[in-house]
């Protein structure tokens, strides 16, 4: 196990059993065209919790994240975020709600026309009436939190992959959000940088008390940071539980995912032939 993972195991997981839900998804159904992606999803996140949404490619985890962020209109169901139903509120109310959430995108989504400091200051500029010096101080504080101090005047194109993710985290938390969403935070990073990003997520939660929703397919990262894990497969939730509950699950599809086995590898050849024949009939 890596050094960072050992650190996480030393850090006690908070008891959140009595904490109120900050996100509550009920009977969520989404489609792309005629294709059903999410099938009656029920899902909740507690205050102060790190919830990892895990699944393979095509499992629907990115669709679920887009629906939670209000970037995708669901076909059916409700999404309550901080007590507001995202599917029913007006655009103005949605804008106000979005000031209470932060999002760190997979590729950072930093604006190429702005330097790192300007990127991080952008939400403050748009949503507060603070003077520029105060905004600079606040942005620099967040840059220190993500260990990016001294890189204020670089352009995003001059940063490494890990630094882009850190800058994206700084921008996501600059308004002190109540919920932080992270899309594939360790994707494309070497193991050491990925572990450092996981540490950063834990530190942000501990320091700022926010709830964190992480979408990832990286098992090691998920086990390192999660309070609970929600396993998605083909648009269904297979299981939601603590790290130990997921690890000890007897569900074959979860075990396939944990052991990185593909469906075809686990299929009995005769069963495969039978399915193939049935499909042709």
């Amino acid at each position: 196990m890596s050094h960072a993972a050992e650190k996480r195991d030393d850090r006690p997981r908070p008891d959140l059993s009595g904490a109120p839900n900050v996100i509550e998804v009920k009977k969520l159904v989404t489609h792309y065209g005629t294709r059903k992606i999410l099938k009656d999803i029920d899902f909740s996140v507690r205050e102060g919790e790190i919830m990892v949404i895990m699944g393979g490619s095509g499992s629907g985890k990115s669709t679920l994240l887009n629906a939670l962020l209000g970037l995708l209109r669901p076909t059916r169901g409700s999404i309550q975020i901080l007590g507001e139903d995202l599917t029913r509120i007006s655009e103005v109310e949605k804008t106000l709600l979005r000031r209470k959430i932060g999002v760190a995108f997979q590729g950072g989504a930093l604006f190429g026309s702005l330097n790192v400091l300007e990127n991080i200051m952008l939400p403050l500029r748009e949503h507060t009436k603070l003077d520029v010096n105060t905004m600079r101080i606040m942005a620099r504080l967040k840059m220190q939190v993500v260990s990016l101090a001294g890189f204020e005047h670089l352009n995003p194109s001059e940063l490494s992959g890990g630094m882009i993710k850190r800058a994206a985290f700084a921008r996501a938390v600059v308004m002190d959000p109540r919920i932080l969403f992270c899309d594939e935070p360790s994707a494309g990073l070497d193991p050491i940088v990925a572990a450092a990003i996981d540490e950063l997520i834990l530190n942000l939660r501990d320091a700022m008390g926010m709830s964190v929703v992480v979408v990832t397919h990286e098992l090691e990262s998920a086990f390192r940071i999660a309070d609970r894990i929600c396993v998605l497969d083909k648009g269904d939730i297979l299981m939601t539980g603590t790290v130990d509950e997921i690890r000890s699950s007897k569900n074959e599809r979860i075990q396939n995912l944990l052991n990185r086995r593909t469906e075809t590898e686990t299929l009995d050849p005769e069963e495969y032939l039978r399915r193939l024949t049935a499909a042709n009939d």
Partner: protein
Amino acid sequence: MSEAGDRAIPTRIAESLDRLGRAAVGGIAEIGLGAVLLYQSVYWIVLGRRREQPVRIAATFERCMEVGIRALPIVTMMSLTIGIMLAIQGIYTLRVFGAEEQVTIGVGISVVREFGPLITGILVAGRTGSSLAARIGTMRISQEVDALEVMGIDPVRFLVAPALIAMVVMVPLLALWADLLMLIGAGWYVSVDMGMSFAAYTQRIIDIVEVDDLMHGLYKSMLFSVLITLVGVINGANVKGGAEGVGRMTTRSVVLSISAIIVTDMIFAFITTRS
């Protein structure tokens, strides 16, 4: 013909109709999106400050520099060249009737009403319209547009409104600059070829060209600037499939912008010369 071939013909007709229908629906959807973008941009330009979400001045100024000032070298070179070319063709054609002296009428009116705005529009479509489509397309695939939305920042206010203001202000100014340089270019050739003094040429142009002619050109430039912006933004917003998609939509943006400019120009000329 074989049985399979007989079956294939109705299928092909059905597929062609299906493609035609989809293209028609797609076209109508794009026109609708253009109308929505224009409405939202005007909304943010007019009411943004009242809603404490003003259109960014720095971004608008930067767009103005990009659309106007950085386009000056190419507009200057093309305008001078086209002015000279108009004078060459005008003198050549009028010589048939022994009326070379009248070249100033043709040059003056056609430059101010037609060539200045049209050439500027085409240059801006190729230069700025394409870069707008590429910029928004790249931002879309790198999730920067999504990032704006989830930060509670309206992408139309942040990206489209500054570009629209810059285009509506700078394209007519560029067209005026193009008018001036085309007239200077033509004047230089007329004075060299026909021995007419530049002062006499200038006086004749002032006598011929009326304010209405100038305004006709400026109104058209404003219309072209709105068209170029909307076509660029719509194509950028519809980018799919990474860098290849950006390239495809950028090319489409230029082709559609230039086509829209020429068709609009014809309709505008027809309507305004009837009244």
